[in-house]
């Protein structure tokens, strides 16, 4: 199976096939050789376009599908980020509640420094605006298959 045409007869036959393929490819006029003409008939059939084709809008449909996939991946990342944020906030609240007693003496001190509250507010706003700025694609719908 893995051998090349090996003996002299096969080499001649291979050369004839290749001559016929080349003649069909280049549209050469070599009518004097009957054996060549027979192979040219086979080569002509092999060069015929296939009976079925892809739809005319195949490329644009696939490109749109890819955009949907990319948007879907981004959305998953966004959901995971929110889930992680939720877990962190939950843990923070848990820690705050657990150690509330030991922080109580510090509370009047923090409240007496309004710039600390302002700084915390700015940090929260910055983080929120960054999270909300994740791009969303307008054609972000459920994926579909090409017909």
């Amino acid at each position: 199976m893995n051998r090349e045409p090996h003996d002299e007869r096969m080499e001649r036959e291979w050369a004839l096939q290749e001559r016929a393929a080349r003649a069909e490819r280049l549209g050469l006029d070599e009518n004097n050789d009957q054996a060549l003409q027979r192979y040219r008939t086979v080569m002509r059939a092999l060069r015929q376009p296939l009976d079925e084709n892809l739809p005319a809008d195949f490329a644009s449909s696939v490109a749109m599908e890819v955009r949907r996939h990319v948007a879907g991946d981004t959305r998953l990342e966004l959901y995971l980020s929110w889930a992680l944020l939720g877990v962190l906030v939950g843990m923070l609240i848990g820690v705050a509640v657990r150690y509330a007693g030991s922080w109580k003496p510090l509370l009047p001190l923090v409240l007496s420094q309004p710039w600390l509250l302002a700084l915390a507010g700015v940090l929260v706003l910055l983080a929120s605006s960054k999270l909300l700025s994740v791009p969303r694609h307008p054609s972000d719908e459920s994926p579909r298959r090409l017909g």
């Binding site: 199976m1 096969m10 090409l146």
Partner: protein
């Protein structure tokens, strides 16, 4: 690897508008020829072509410019089609076909004018039917070589087969097609 291909790949990776659509348009014909020739089912072949380009987009960063882009994409398409045939338990080769072609060569006639006979549409139909009955791998190799005009090296790159194996498939299949036609038209061996 042509300069245009490199530019196209870089544009796709940079998410340039319309770049991926251009890439698909450029190579959809090759992809279709490989997959449709292997699979033969038009609707499944269309879905597999779509899967192929989704994979190409997903893995394009792994493309190292070591082979031509058409070979790389062709290889993805071939692998997708091969997996489909494995799932459907369809053999890609005719297991009974391991002769060296000499017996077929013996049967070929020198006195039959196929050229004149091809004018008959029945002859063309017979020839196409004979091509359709070939095993998936031979059909695909013939189409890539004759219709897409790929070199034997390119086809070897796509299918992962040795160039000698590709040549052997081409030789024996073309010989077989010629013999089948001559037999169909009543030429005595």
């Amino acid at each position: 690897m042509s300069h245009q291909d490199r530019q196209l790949v870089e544009n796709v990776l940079a998410n340039a508008p319309g770049a991926f659509e251009r890439l698909v348009r450029e190579y959809q014909g090759l992809c279709w020829h490989i997959i449709y020739r292997m699979v033969r089912h038009p609707e499944d072949a269309r879905e597999l072509c779509q899967d192929t380009f989704l994979r190409v987009h997903q893995h394009l960063r792994q493309y190292r410019y070591e082979s031509a882009l058409k070979s790389w994409i062709g290889r993805v398409a071939y692998t997708v089609a091969l997996r489909y045939l494995e799932r459907k338990r369809i053999a890609i080769l005719d297991v009974g076909e391991d002769g060296d072609g000499l017996d077929l060569s013996d049967k070929l006639s020198d006195g039959f004018d196929l050229e004149a006979a091809y004018v008959d549409s029945d002859m063309a139909a017979r020839l196409h039917a004979a091509i359709e009955t070939l095993p998936p791998l031979q059909r695909t190799v013939l189409t890539l070589y004759h219709l897409d005009e790929l070199s034997i090296d390119d086809i070897a790159g796509i299918t992962g087969l040795a160039t000698g194996t590709i040549k052997s498939h081409l030789f024996r299949t073309r010989l077989r097609l010629r013999a089948q036609l001559e037999t169909a038209y009543g030429v005595a061996p």
